[in-house]
Symmetry: C2
Subunit: 477 residues, 2 copies
């Protein structure tokens, strides 16, 4: 056994026994605890911090749901399970999990109602503008690339970002409500409890955990299952280096202090497999306000590399993962406005050539890019990257300027998407695809719906949805 | 325990006991067996095929060595451990393993001598031309990007591809000699033996294996250690989908039938960690003969994306991993010649515009790229991608043509670089970085020296080098 696995065959002196033990009180953990206790399972949540919330409480609170939720209908948007499915299958990376996505789309309308029933408030109004985190208390928002190439032609676009009713950041309110629901439920919460080891028997089954609380060890048996919902590993530099080294260059890690991969490592030590460990969500919110989508994003070779009107989560991926995290957002006097997120001005010039020199781009490169872009934009087309006509206009009104979108200057917000391999019931799978009995996981401890190609709200969405499913599977086991 | 892990605490009826058990008889397994038996350990190699060789026997046989080997000296090349170290640290990906690379460079001269002592012949002549696999029986060849930007300015270039003396493909001869050496050694070989499970005790120590041979199970105890050298996972579609999905688009998988990740999965089941599972080597040998380096490689946007004179292993990575595996090698009448590896002609035209239309590239895109390239090439410079002056000349002599370098038309040769996390003594590590007692691994079952940014010969090189180190560590244990 490795240091984090203990022999469960011997006589373990348990301090406590429950049916379902949940590790971590973020959104996924809260959902798992609520579901398990609603099904009558004696449920305990261990949280290493002094209070619940985790990374979910530090997020924008957006939950990606659709297929015609009550909120979408109230705001006058038509959506269907099929359109949501097509969008997610096309947009979430090269290897989307069809089974999880299918279940998620089928269950999305009900899952919204469930969130409402837990006390999470959603104002029945739509915010047109900034994706991701609306500054108002509106409930519905665009939070993906539904309206951009190529997705707008693959599925009928609909806004699917469901945001708790509060101005600006919705994550704290979401977690305040979910934690209150857990406290009001029969489930118990033990804060300041950090799980340090799993108890596993010789047949591989997980029986419980050892946890540390203020220097004391507590051994807790879980009769039906342990559910790992401890978050990702974006705060673990060593793990990032071994799986997703480019993430180390991002200035902002979307994380609570617990995102050190501890739960993932417990699962690996128990013989669990991980998948898509290189996948990260990288946001580069440079096109806020949306008018800046009329600019062009160029790399160190002075070339465009993405349709600038796509979701800022995709801009970050394109810039960091495929263009070395070095790029500039070029604007002219006609479209210049101040970005919502502070960005440094990297250079200005009266001509494209002057700006090119100011940015130390290869001679002639930016000029050639602008000429080609302007030529097509004047005709309302972008055959190179297919930006929507709405954001196409020639950049030919001096002076020219560029915002610095290199990783050391701009806001790159990153978190990890890879993790334990789970089936759609949250069972942690071994490398042969067989479940490790008694071990479940959900949220960013697992590889979920998005494995590259992020839309905001997918992590709170799949964490809560599959957290509930894991709890149901554990109580059935 | 998962299905591939069995309880070693009970009374196991072993059919046989040895000191060191090696799984797989490719280059890494042969090296491990030779080293273990030379140190006096009773050694047995299990090979699932009916004969030794594995993927190594299907390779070009190039072994990346340097720092002033006898062969480099005989061919009149100066090299140093430091230059080799600088090149490898700069070229092998974003997260090079400094400890392994350092040991590898220190031991490289001796390791060459060791290979010679095993009977591997190297003709003391240099082949100037094609990287990778020389068509002649010359012994030394360029097999990386040492001479190209940016590496030529980071470390003094030297050819480091050491090739067994045979025309064309050197892998079969290499493995014929290494297998003969194993057969001449006290180590024994059992072919047609496929390892199906590891025996692990409650402290995590590996004690032996179960193997299947013609339907019969044989249980073999390993007193000192089991060394996994079973190769990568490029033939396992399911694993590729979960770790490196783009590899599925490559037409050629560099593999023997055993490269299904079985050894990696055994290690995971035993609680071992994997790292860099997304890393692949992708070769696109379009610049053979070298005259074609004077062409330009463009993506679907008609943009260049790499210095075309870099090693073809890097061309493949740039094209597949960052440009969707869709690109064209554009040439003019002046530099046209037939590629060594058959490539389809994707289009021709009397003007850049005609070629652009033939390739269905965005209007004006290829013309703009050629104008910028030609403008600089006429002055012998390439400020955009820094191709060496030797390969720079304007492409302005009609007709123009393009070889199809999309994954469905061109030769993309792929194999996996990620695998079990090992220390520099080949110990398989758990997620906390602690060794799993009794378990070792080498070769492409592990993550080795190259984790992105491949030079030919690194896998045979690190497989044999760290295979020997694993055997030494096991016999010391």
């Amino acid at each position: 056994m490795t240091s984090t696995i203990r022999d469960a065959n011997g006589a373990v002196q348990w301090h406590e026994e429950v049916d379902v033990l949940v590790l971590g009180l973020g959104a996924a953990g809260a959902a798992a605890a609520l579901e398990a206790s609603a099904l009558g399972a004696e449920t305990l949540v261990l949280e290493r911090a002094s209070g619940g919330g985790g990374t979910s409480a530090m997020s924008g609170g957006v939950i990606y749901l659709g297929g015609g939720t009550a909120l979408q209908k109230a705001c006058g948007f038509e959506d269907s399970e099929e359109d949501m499915y097509r969008y997610l299958m096309a947009s979430t990376g090269l290897a989307p999990d069809q089974t999880k996505i299918s279940l998620y789309c089928e269950g999305s309308v009900d899952h919204y109602d469930w969130l409402c029933a837990q006390g999470v408030p959603f104002k029945q109004t739509f915010y047109h503008g900034t994706s991701g985190e609306p500054p108002t208390d509106d409930g519905l928002v665009w939070s993906g690339a539904e309206n951009a190439h190529p997705f707008k032609d693959i599925a009928r676009p609909a806004p699917r970002g469901h945001v708790p009713q509060v101005e600006h950041q919705g994550g704290p309110l979401l977690m305040q409500k979910l934690c209150a629901a857990v406290e009001a439920s029969p489930a118990r919460i033990a804060t300041d409890h950090r799980c340090t080891a799993l108890y596993q028997d010789h047949q591989g089954r997980i029986h419980g955990v050892a946890a540390e609380s203020f220097g004391e060890e507590r051994r807790i048996r879980a009769r039906q299952g342990v559910v790992i919902t401890t978050g990702g590993f974006v705060l673990n530099d060593d793990m990032l280096l071994k799986h997703a080294p480019l993430a180390l260059r991002c200035g902002m890690r979307v994380a609570a202090t617990g995102d050190d991969g501890s739960g993932i490592r417990l699962g690996i030590a128990a013989g669990g497999a991980t998948i898509h460990m290189d996948s990260v969500s990288v946001s580069l919110p440079i096109t806020q306000p949306w008018g800046l989508k009329r600019g062009i994003l160029v790399n160190q070779q002075g070339q465009r590399f993405v349709n600038e009107d796509t979701y800022y989560g995709r801009l970050g991926e394109a810039a960091l993962l495929h263009n070395d995290g070095r790029s500039y957002m070029v604007v002219d006097h006609g479209i210049f406005e101040k970005p919502e997120y502070m960005e440094e001005i990297a250079g200005v010039g009266e001509t494209p050539e002057e700006l090119e020199r100011a940015l130390a781009l290869p001679e002639g490169s930016l000029r050639a890019t602008l000429e080609l872009y302007n030529h097509h934009a004047a005709q309302g087309s972008d055959p190179v990257f297919h930006k929507t006509a709405e954001y196409l206009e020639p950049l030919d009104r001096p002076p020219y300027g560029a915002f610095d979108c290199t990783t050391d200057k701009a806001l790159y917000a990153v978190f990890t998407l890879g993790g334990l391999h789970t089936d759609s019931d949250g069972r942690v799978l071994d490398p042969e695809g067989d479940p490790i009995p008694g071990l479940y996981a959900a949220g960013r401890s697992t590889s979920g719906i998005a494995v590259g190609g992020y839309s905001s709200g997918l992590s709170l969405g799949d964490g809560t949805f599959f957290g509930r499913r894991a709890a149901r599977a554990a109580t059935r086991a």
